[in-house]
Amino acid sequence: MIAYIIRRIGGSIVVLIGISIITFSLAYLVPANPARAIVGPHASEALVLQVEKQLGLNQPLPIRYVHYMENLLQGNLGTSYVLDQPVTTLIGQRAGATAQLAVTAWIGELLIGLPIGIISALYDRKAVDHVVSIFALIGISLPVFFVGLELMYWVGFRLGWLPVGGSGGFTFVILPALTYAITGAAYYARLLKSSMIDVMNSDYIRTAKAKGASPNRVILRHALRNAIIPVMTYGGIDIASLFGGVVVIEDVFGYSGIGQLTVQAINNLDVPVIMGTVLFAALFVVLFNLLVDVLYGIVDPRITY
């Protein structure tokens, strides 16, 4: 087990280095000169050159990468070209808001997705199954910005029940979280349904039924518990990617989180921020993957390493 964990950590580090290289190359393919963007059109060519030098843009790519990694290992992600603040500060300012949204959105998904999954597994191939499945599928068949805008307009503006956009207390989180939940719940439903049917057809559940265990007890104690494992795997990756920023939804609702920061940075070609936020998001995915793998071992002792 310990050896396995160490091996997995080693693998994760390789993955993170790979990500940093890809992000770095992509960011520097960007066909724009940040120096001119910083100083404006009235600046002299000399000032532009000076700024390029300050940003280290006149050095060859590999050297820039080495500098970047040196800084990275000291926890320094560089400074935003546009906002002129350290990237770590910018991410730090938004991490709390994104975490709040991420957890709420994730719980929302589970609250909608899991019951639908259970119901459609229990009423497999019956009308109830078809109806709830279609509802869940409609959710994942719509663009998130469309769902977000409709919720914003009807619930926020016309009904006035919730703030239409912006950031603040928990009330500002509900609509964006609901948008994510609606557009993501079907993945959980789908996964839980097929996993539950697999489990319910398995020998030990049949045995339990044969022994006369009550159906509810079978479903809850045995089937659900075993069927939840693949759902857990997906859930881990899902919330990890949420922590990295809820990209489009934050943009729609004007919610000041990491996702919005990233989208703005991509539009502004603010290279240090793009690299910082992408690395941050990837870090979460890698960490949660690791965590899920370890948890897997604890929940399901049949898995050996």
Binding site: A37, G254, S256
Partner: protein, 554 residues
């Protein structure tokens, strides 16, 4: 300043490159049906107190006046800081702000007598407060967009920039309250430059005590409002400066800027009455929000409009591709129906026939010479194209950016107009920054852009955009004409007046006859103001006049 068309929203508003303090100017007076929304027009007495809440589409990129060169930042900087001189009311007229002034020695020496004023921390404003700021703007390490406006104009600035001198010889503190600025040559636009927020009073001891990044987020000024708190991602709260050097203002106790990067939410908030106005720092009401607001009887009377000192244009590369041929460029001028573009923009524009907008105090020509005047005539365009050697037309690319829907609409409209005369254009749309970088290499065949004044003088359009020494960064059509260069260089040294105006008109006539631009429209800027918000007006060069505004509700 190069801007994407009319609207500076969201991501774009946070670009340092983008807007300018001096966005949009107009000679039309604000059109309001309710007198209360103009500065002087209110029949009721201003009321003190209250809080004004506004939506902000992104955080303020900069709060340091030396670094602020975009409309979003300037919205804040103008509330926190004061300059030597400023603009009066809705006009382009320069009036004293922190100092009265005299000009001597043939327009080369400016002497400023500084008023009694204090920074928020109690330190007095002195001549050194300005000298420090000039030196900061000139310092290469500050990466200030203001450097190009005063270097090499101020005597000794070049030596200071290059590090050969420790001080700027043209900046002298005669005593604590007298500042003397000596220029290399007379300049008709220097007072306009001084009204830019770059050259605000800063507290030298505060500057010395704090790091640049701290100063950029923690302003220390003389302005009507102080920054009392900033919650990243949420809001900025501004409170009244009780010791403001202008007696009797501001009226408001508090201004709250909610950070809310969602154009749809901005409109909904306004319609719900949560915010006081949709205006300047958001680049006015976006065209797509203009119709719902102007059609809404609740607000149709509260929309303030003003023609900007700006021109939306279509650039034709004068050194590359078929448009290198002047006959082709002239032919294309006849292919564009500007009335259609005005309609596409929901009427928030005026058809353009020349580079200088009519809202510019000088330089606009009532009557253009016939060879510089073009009317919509697709048949003639086709004939001229054939004559120029393109009877079948040609293929080309129109470059545009994705920062707002208006740019794209114009590009698509022109694309169809060109198609009707046989020119097949492809649209290449990219993010604002990608677009700009490519634009500034001078290698785009055709592009849509707008130019928004830095200050109300024709030189800011003609010299910046058509002088061959500006190729390719600002002069991205690569337009080069020695006669025009000579006129523009001559005008830069002349005192303001008719003779100078005529020099610029002459230059514009030559340029228009050679058609590096198709001027499309002069954008109209519109703001929506709640009926209970009073005192709002649009100065063509400044941001929202929060210090003169008050709330009549409750």
């Amino acid at each position: 300043m190069k801007v994407s068309k009319m609207r500076m929203l969201g991501v774009v508003a946070s670009m340092t490159m983008l807007g300018t303090a001096l966005a949009g100017c107009g000679t039309q007076s604000a059109t309001t049906s309710q007198g209360g929304t103009t500065a002087s027009g209110g029949s009721t007495q201003p009321v003190y107190g209250g809080t004004l809440t506004l939506d902000l589409l992104s955080q303020f990129p900069h709060l340091d006046p030396a670094k602020a060169y975009d409309t979003t930042s300037n919205e804040a900087v103008e509330q926190f800081y004061n300059t030597l001189v400023t603009y009066q009311g809705t006009t382009n007229k320069i009036i004293p702000d922190l100092a009265t002034y005299t000009i001597s020695n043939g327009g080369k020496v400016y002497t400023f007598h500084i008023k009694k004023a204090k920074f928020w921390n109690g330190d007095p404003v002195t001549a050194q407060s300005f000298i420090t700021e000039f030196e900061r703007v000139l310092n290469n390490n500050m990466q200030s967009g203001g450097q190009g406006f005063v270097d090499p104009l101020i005597q000794g600035s070049a030596a200071y920039v290059s590090g050969m001198a420790k001080t700027v010889s043209g900046l002298t503190a005669i005593n604590n309250s007298t500042l003397q600025i000596t220029l290399m040559h007379p300049s008709a636009t220097f007072l306009y430059v001084l009204a830019m927020p770059f050259f605000s009073a800063v507290d030298p001891s505060y500057i010395a005590a704090h790091s640049e990044s701290y100063i950029d987020t923690h302003p220390m000024g003389t302005g009507p409002f102080e920054l009392s708190s900033y919650t990243p991602g949420k809001d900025y709260i501004l409170t009244k400066n009780p010791n403001y050097f202008v007696k009797g203002i501001p009226y408001l106790n508090k201004v709250v800027f909610n950070i809310n990067n969602s154009p749809s939410a901005v409109l909904f908030h306004f319609e719900q009455g949560q915010t006081g106005m949709v205006s300047w720092n958001q680049g006015g009401i976006p065209t797509e929000d203009y119709l719902p607001l102007s059609n809404n009887p609740k607000y149709s009377g509260d929309i303030v409009k003003k023609t900007e000192v700006a021109t939306d244009y279509f650039g034709l590369n004068t050194t590359m591709g078929p448009t290198a041929n002047v006959a082709v460029r002239r032919a294309l001028e006849y292919a564009v129906n500007k009335q259609v573009i005005v309609r596409i923009l929901d009427g928030l524009a005026i058809p353009a026939n020349q580079i200088i907008p009519p809202s510019m105090p000088s330089g606009y020509e009532q009557h253009l010479p016939t060879n510089a005047q073009y009317t919509y005539d697709p048949a003639l365009a086709k004939k001229l194209l054939a004559k120029a050697g393109y009877p079948q037309g040609f293929s080309t690319t129109i470059y545009t950016d994705n920062s707002n829907p208006t740019d794209l609409k114009m590009a698509e409209a022109v694309q169809q107009m060109f198609a009707q005369v046989g020119v097949k254009a492809q649209i290449n749309q990219s993010s604002w920054n990608t677009f700009l970088s490519s634009n500034e290499t001078g290698k785009q065949n055709m592009f849509t852009l707008a130019w928004l004044e830095d200050f109300p003088d024709p030189s800011d359009f003609l010299n910046t955009l058509f002088n061959s020494n500006q190729i390719p960064v600002n002069n991205s059509t690569n337009y080069s004409n020695s006669q025009v260069d000579a006129l523009l260089n001559q005008g830069a040294l002349m005192p303001a007046g008719t003779a100078r105006d005529n020099v610029y008109k002459q230059a514009q006539n030559i340029i228009m006859a050679q058609a590096p631009w198709i001027p499309l429209v002069y954008p109209v800027y519109a703001a929506a103001v709640q009926p209970w918000v009073k005192g709002f007006y649009i100065n063509p060069n400044l941001m929202d006049p929060l210090q003169y505004m008050w709330i009549a509700k409750q």
